[in-house]
């Protein structure tokens, strides 16, 4: 493939997205697109290095694109001009088929499983509809704490994102109602009681909004009261603690993002330069940095009953 005329779409301008767009820009690829519908927050800055405190509140995709475009990074591979990044501050599921079909590769660093499922479905759909004229490889990165993975999905050739859904951890913690209602023993029980039972009783017409400091404070006070009432040790209870229990916040650090994003970009470049054979190459790479730094790769088997990719079997 001719690398001088390559267009890559990057999904997400968060921890992985910033790393992906930086690394691909350093390869001097001419045109990169980046999509994200979020705005920048202070808690992003320990890893989303294209942003600074001045950018808080601004759209991530625009600021990331501007950070790269401003530097005027020369294109490589015989192309004149600078690397150009096009931002899309929007929900990626609003992209139509024509827009998506213009890209050679899609690299994702999303934080949502649903968005990944959508693009996975869309790319397989495009492949079928075009009768294999348009086959866009999808490289998906994901991290949590010191662990991460990188998945290479080529519609029709490899297993797809949907096939690997069952390998995702199930981290939804649920508690029996009787524990919350009559036998609370931990702070989490008190917080869930405030959230699931007290809030709807007090505000039957609206769910709580964890972005609202007032709502959070209300939940905190009710949780604290509950903990006091049941003699549960509460010196660690803060609004941050309440948020941590009610909202699944993923631990994240720059190193893991850099490793997984680097892995995604390496796969993208290897694909563009025909270094790997998509019919036989390993497709999933798993990384764990908690004890040593372990990385291994294997070819994920296609799920024969997969609702998305079994049409190709």
């Amino acid at each position: 493939m001719d690398v001088s005329d390559v267009k890559i779409l990057i999904l997400g301008a968060g921890g992985l997205g910033c790393e992906i767009v930086k690394t691909l820009a350093l390869y001097g690829l001419p045109e990169l697109h980046i999509v994200d519908m979020d705005t920048i927050e202070l808690t992003n800055l320990n890893r989303q290095f294209l942003f600074s405190t001045r950018d808080i509140g601004k759209p991530k995709a625009s600021v990331a694109a501007e950070a790269i475009n401003r530097l005027q990074i020369p294109c490589k591979n015989g192309v004149t001009g600078f690397v150009h990044v096009v931002p899309h501050n929007q929900d990626l599921t609003q992209f139509n088929d024509d827009f998506i079909s213009q890209f050679d590769i899609i690299v994702s660093g999303l934080d949502s499983i649903e968005a990944r499922r959508w693009i996975n479905f869309k790319l397989h759909d495009v492949t079928v509809k075009s009768n294999f004229k348009t086959v866009i490889p999808f490289i998906d990165g994901a991290t949590e704490g010191l662990m991460g993975n990188c998945k290479l999905i080529v519609p029709g050739f490899t297993s797809c994102y949907e096939c690997s859904l069952s390998t995702l951890p199930q981290n939804t913690e649920t508690y029996p109602l009787c524990t919350l209602a009559s036998n609370p023993r931990t702070l989490a029980h008190c917080i869930q009681y405030a959230s699931i039972i007290l809030w709807p009783r007090e505000f039957p017409n609206r769910p709580h909004d964890l972005e609202s400091p007032d709502d959070l404070q209300w939940l905190y006070e009710k949780s604290l009261h509950r903990a006091e009432e049941f003699n549960i040790h509460h010196s660690t209870l803060t609004t941050r603690y309440v948020l941590g229990v009610l909202k699944s916040i993923i631990p994240s650090v720059t190193t893991t993002n850099s490793i997984i994003a680097g892995q995604c970009c390496k796969q993208a470049i290897d694909l563009l330069t025909d270094k790997i054979d998509i019919e036989t190459c390993p497709t999933f790479t798993m990384y764990n940095g908690e004890a040593g730094a372990t990385m291994f790769s294997y070819r994920h088997e296609r799920d024969a009953s997969c609702t998305v990719c079994s049409v190709f079997a």
Partner: protein, 478 residues
């Protein structure tokens, strides 16, 4: 602030803050206290979930030196990660031949120093040309660093680094699709918290009198259904164990399960799966099998790793603490009890009562540990660290670091590693590193650096080879 030269008249040496390892115990008492740093919380929130305030506080007092002949992308990626994670002070020493364009070119560079410096206002940078740093490897400047990261593969700068002996050293390089990271140190490295998975030990077969009394206080067979439902699973387990013993039936998975069903069906109706405390009890039935509490191998490993008291402060504290745990164990025949027990489906009242039994014993054991520590003259260990280690007995560990003398040894089982070394020895051009390789290796280097600084998670023991052709790593001792 960027210092572009090393000048002791302008405060050069004196402005370098002492690194954590050289600070007196008093400073570390603060560090270990897990205090909340208000404003810092939000920026580091997502990584505080990984290593906590105690880890972050150690980073915020560290001074890391990164040495590289050329200003490679690998070095920039490494410095970027260190800066973002909140290392207090970063000194970059670069070779004299390529230095000058470094700062000049930085404006148009995505990972230039202007960019790196603006990434985190908490970090102080120093950029030094090799001609400006002391030639003597024993100079106190070198000892003021918490860790030195060496990315050069040849030349006078490497020769100088190879003479450093007191400071932990990380060496790394990459060529084509291969990269390696090696951890070098004059003594083993102690881990305060490996964050590994483990199961609670409730001491159900090694009870102290109060715990036995508590468990004996329930006449389970004569309780109402409601009362039985409010019991923590440990009480159910205890009763099953006792009943099997009285019948002289050996305790194993099958016998425990049968006994559980019998106990359940004699009091409650419906399937066992309807009663959460029974479900939990069955899931934890292994707690009945474990007859003895042998001295854990991770603690033995720490004691065996050192021939003398460790030099670095935290290593010394961990070693001293584990020595006292061994003394305690030899006296009592068991480890100190943890104050933390898992949540058990039960009434609040019974759970709190049971928790209090464990907490009282844990407090008593801790005070005995404190007495042993004082008797051994180990009184400098900060109490918050003692609490943390008591909580983490199964997560303490020691790993062996590599030595400088073996730094360039080849090994026959690792042809790719030998290839990498030979490329270096041929003074192959290492200035070009692919952006992806730099991103991966630079981050791996800084992650190992942070593991060493925080004494959390287990560092590589002691050489890591990353193979970009197969997308796999392998670890070996060199």
């Amino acid at each position: 602030m960027i210092n572009t030269s090393f000048d002791s008249n302008q405060g050069g040496l004196s402005c370098i803050r002492t690194s954590v390892k050289d600070q007196g115990p008093r400073a570390l008492v603060q560090v270990m206290a897990d205090q909340i740093n208000g404003g810092l919380d939000d920026r580091y929130d997502r990584q505080l979930m990984i290593w906590g305030h105690s880890g972050q506080d150690l980073l915020s007092q560290s001074h890391v030196c990164v040495v590289d002949d050329n200003q490679t992308l690998l070095m920039r990626e490494c410095v970027k990660s260190l800066a973002l994670m909140g290392i207090h002070e970063i000194t970059v020493v670069f070779g004299s031949s390529n230095g000058s364009d470094f700062v000049n070119k930085s404006n148009s560079d995505i990972l230039g120093f202007d960019a790196l410096e603006s990434m985190n206002p908490d970090v102080t940078f120093h950029i030094w040309n090799e001609n400006a740093v002391p030639i003597d490897s024993q100079h106190k400047l070198w000892n003021s660093f918490s860790i030195v990261i060496c990315l050069c593969t040849a030349g006078p700068l490497l020769q100088r680094v190879m003479k450093l002996s007191a400071v932990p050293l990380i060496m790394a390089s990459t060529n084509d699709n291969l990269g390696f990271v090696r951890l070098i140190g004059s003594e083993p490295h102690c881990v305060i918290d490996s964050h590994g998975h483990f199961t609670f030990d409730l001491r159900l077969n090694r009870m102290w009198p109060e715990l036995a009394e508590y468990h004996e206080s329930f006449d389970v067979k004569n309780m109402s259904q409601e009362e039985v439902s409010s019991l923590p699973y440990s009480v159910l387990l205890y009763n099953v164990g006792k009943s099997l013993k009285s019948k002289n039936i050996p305790i194993n998975r099958k016998s425990v399960r049968a006994e559980f069903i019998e106990l359940h069906d004699s009091i409650l109706s419906g399937p066992l799966t309807n009663d959460l405390n029974f479900v939990e009890a069955e899931r934890s039935s292994f707690l009945l099998y474990d007859q003895s509490g042998p001295f854990p191998h991770n603690l033995t490993n720490i004691l065996n790793s050192f021939h003398a008291e460790p030099n670095s402060t935290i290593n010394r504290w961990v070693y001293q603490f584990v020595r006292c745990i061994r003394i305690f164990y030899d006296l009592r025949g068991d480890l100190p009890v943890s104050a933390f027990i898992p949540d058990m489906e039960s009434s609040t009242k019974l759970f709190n009562a049971q928790k209090a039994v464990y907490q009282r014993k844990a407090a008593k054991d801790k005070s005995e540990i404190m007495r042993i520590l004082a008797k051994e003259n180990y009184s400098l260990i900060p109490e918050p660290l003692i609490d943390k280690m008591l909580e983490n007995l199964k997560h303490l560990d020691a790993i062996k670091m590599g030595s400088l003398s073996s730094a360039t040894r080849t090994i026959s089982e690792k042809p790719k590693f030998n290839k990498l070394l030979s490329l270096q020895n041929d003074r192959h051009d290492t200035t070009f590193v692919s952006p992806a390789m730099a991103s991966i290796l630079g981050a791996m280097v800084s992650q190992e650096c942070v593991k060493l600084l925080t004494h959390q998670y287990v560092p590589v023991e002691n050489t890591l080879l990353y193979d970009g052709d197969s997308n796999e790593t392998s670890t070996f001792i060199l």
